[in-house]
């Protein structure tokens, strides 16, 4: 079984590029050039240099001793929270800004949910001196205020998305409309492993540095490159795609994907796409998608803005469909509890998105000698307001 994208842009039956003709020239240019640009020696050099000197990579692979003790298994945390700007998102924006420059683009647009991708995009635009416009749902602007301020300080223009559920899906719609209106000078930096081909694959490749590092770091610490499990939370699926990438075809490595159940999978207020979704088309790709019987995209819900998306990247739809990955759904309450637990056991305040991945240990038992690598996708600074309200701190 192949878990990577094929030449036509599909992962099994998922993927493709279902885009209006207006977007075709841009997406096609990217499709034709992304692999060759990424293979250019000076691209690789610049990308790696920035990841090292600017982002602070490699990010540590940390053996979480007290957490492991509590759950009687061996838990490693891949510390993407220690990256510059506080999450994995910057791996992708560094890659895409270098791509945009090589394509001769001068104006950058992005969508953001939690604001992490918006901040990471605003950051690389400042770094390269490019104009930056970030679309963000009105609801998310309210619940992620610190990140809105950060983007503004970094010189980006934050435009509220006022349609639909006013969250990530709608911000993405607005970004796509902007791209239709500005087809020549603009590059759209998509923030997750979603969108029309080649985006899911390109984003996955930029994020694959996560699993590339896990391999040699685990070898150093455990004497083996392969853990028993890799675990990540899934919004659109970029930190997960990066965490899984080099293990996809290692059959002894089990993959766990953690979705947001919101108030509960059957509550009507959820974002657990692999359970609630059905094959459909969102933002230019065929994937699993939460929708009505009539094909209207429904409004997801999660306490975490970064997981509040009604689809998953096509690679993950394929992993779900083929059974390669085990999907788990974690509620708001379970995630919040797990987040606080990490603070108290390890002295790390995780992003609420990440807390979903950490919550699996209450749901599922692992063997004492199982080695489990969890993607600690981001830090919780941006979520302090939500934590404060939730725990009445």
């Amino acid at each position: 079984m192949n878990y990577n994208v094929n030449e036509k842009g599909y992962y099994g039956e998922f993927g493709g590029a279902f885009i209006p003709e207006m977007l075709y020239p841009n997406v096609e240019e990217l499709r034709q050039k992304y692999l060759s640009v990424m293979a250019e020696p000076d691209f690789i050099k610049e990308f790696n240099q920035l990841l090292k000197d600017y982002v602070g990579r490699p990010s540590p692979l940390y053996y979480a001793k007290r957490l492991s003790k509590k759950y009687n298994t061996k838990i490693y945390l891949k510390r993407e929270d220690l990256n510059h700007t506080g999450a994995h998102k910057i791996n992708n924006t560094i890659g895409q800004i270098l791509m945009a420059k090589r394509l001769g683009k001068t104006r950058i647009i992005a969508e953001t949910g939690a604001g992490q991708h918006g901040v990471a995009t605003a950051t690389v635009c400042a770094l390269m001196g490019l104009e930056c416009i970030v679309y963000m749902g009105e609801i998310d602007i309210a619940r992620q205020a610190p990140n809105v301020a950060r983007m503004k300080m970094l010189g980006a223009k934050v435009v509220p998305a006022l349609s639909g559920s006013r969250t990530l899906k709608d911000a993405t719609n607005e970004a796509i409309r902007d791209w239709i209106n500005n087809p020549v000078n603009t590059h759209y930096i998509i923030g997750s492993a979603i969108g029309p081909h080649p985006y899911p694959d390109m984003v996955t490749r930029f994020q694959s540095v996560i699993s590339e590092e896990i391999k040699w770091q685990l070898k150093e610490q455990e004497g083996t490159e392969n853990p028993d499990y890799v675990v990540a939370c899934i919004g659109g699926g970029s930190n997960a795609a990066g965490t899984y990438y080099h293990f996809l075809h290692e059959q002894d490595v089990k993959i766990i994907a953690v979705e947001a159940a919101g108030l509960g999978v059957d509550s009507g207020e959820s974002a657990a796409t692999s359970v609630l979704g059905k094959e459909g088309i969102i933002h230019g790709c065929k994937t699993l998608l939460m929708q009505t019987k009539d094909g209207q995209i429904t409004e997801p819900y999660s306490i975490s803005a970064g997981l509040d998306y009604p689809g998953v990247g096509p690679m993950h739809a394929h992993l779900a469909k083929t059974g390669r990955a085990e999907f788990m759904a974690i509620t708001d309450d379970e995630a919040m509890t797990a987040g606080l637990e990490l603070c108290q056991l390890e002295g790390i305040i995780p992003a609420i998105e990440t807390s979903h991945a950490l919550a699996i240990f209450e749901q599922r038992t692992f063997k004492p000698d199982d080695v489990i690598v969890v993607s600690l996708s981001g830090r919780g600074d941006k979520d302090l307001d939500t934590y404060i309200k939730y725990f009445k701190l």
Binding site: F18, P20, E21, M22, Y24, I180, N181, P183, I282
Partner: protein, 253 residues
């Protein structure tokens, strides 16, 4: 021959009107269609509303949201249209995004279109390549014409390909934009209109996006066989009753 093909043989500039089914009220669909035909409109695009209309500006977005709230679905639309051919003769095209059609089942959708007398489809997010490989024969089985978009950025080579796959008309998007966001046409638009006119394509072209009044209609049809008005008509419907549609149509030509 399909009604669209017949209409395109007429020696005149065609006025085509887009409206969103289920807007302003769920049951306005038939009245709007009849009223448009009565006032000399040549062709109608019936918008099947979608929750996430990527290629549409605020006006059509808002009408789609309202139509969905009113209860419009593919099923409801087909029910409304079931006797339409008893009273209406002009070509009728359904314009909608791909996901609702995919969920209905592409073949079932096409079959239903043929049953009620729909002549063609415009599906902005179904790329010509996918259509060509996966769905062309289904559309043909049910006598449906699929209409593709081109834009000022579409390469000549791709336009030739689209022309070769088309069997009705080519929908020329007037400029790089979502629907409704033009206030008039300038030199750049005109250069593009001329460039396409000079390509001598086998399919006639109809220009859409940004046609809002008689001036833009006249400008567009100088180079193309017709023009499509959408957002401007939706705006009209939001503050005029259906029996005033004649006022809108006569203001165009």
């Amino acid at each position: 021959m399909n009604r669209i093909q017949n209409k395109l043989q007429e020696d005149k500039k065609l006025l085509s009107i887009y409206f969103t089914a289920g807007y302003p009220n769920l049951d306005d669909t038939i009245n709007i269609i009849q009223e448009l035909e009565k006032n000399g409109v040549d062709m109608i695009e019936i918008g099947l509303p979608f929750s996430d209309p990527l290629a549409d500006g605020p006006t059509i977005q808002a009408s789609s949201t309202k139509a969905l709230k009113n209860g419009m679905t593919s099923e409801v639309l087909f029910n409304q249209l079931k006797d339409i051919r008893k009273t209406v003769n002009i070509p009728l095209i359904i314009m909608g995004y791909f996901n609702p059609i995919l969920q209905y089942g592409v073949e079932a959708f096409c079959k239903k279109c043929q049953e009620v007398g729909i002549d063609g489809l415009i599906i902005p997010d179904l790329p010509v390549d996918v259509y060509h490989d996966d769905y062309k024969s289904t559309f043909e089985t049910y006598g449906l014409i699929n209409v593709f978009l081109i834009t000022p950025q579409t390469s000549d080579e791709r336009i030739q390909f689209i022309d070769s796959v088309s069997n009705g008309f080519i929908y020329m998007v007037s400029s790089a934009s979502v629907t409704g966001s033009q206030s008039g046409f300038g030199d750049e638009n005109t250069r593009y209109f001329k460039r396409i006119a000079n390509m001598n394509l086998q399919n006639p072209q109809i220009i859409g996006f940004g046609i809002s009044d008689s001036k833009t209609f006249t400008q567009a049809t100088e180079y193309a066989q017709g023009a499509i008005i959408g957002s401007a008509f939706i705006k009209f419907l939001s503050d005029h009753p259906i029996d005033k549609i004649s006022k809108f149509v006569t203001s165009i030509r």
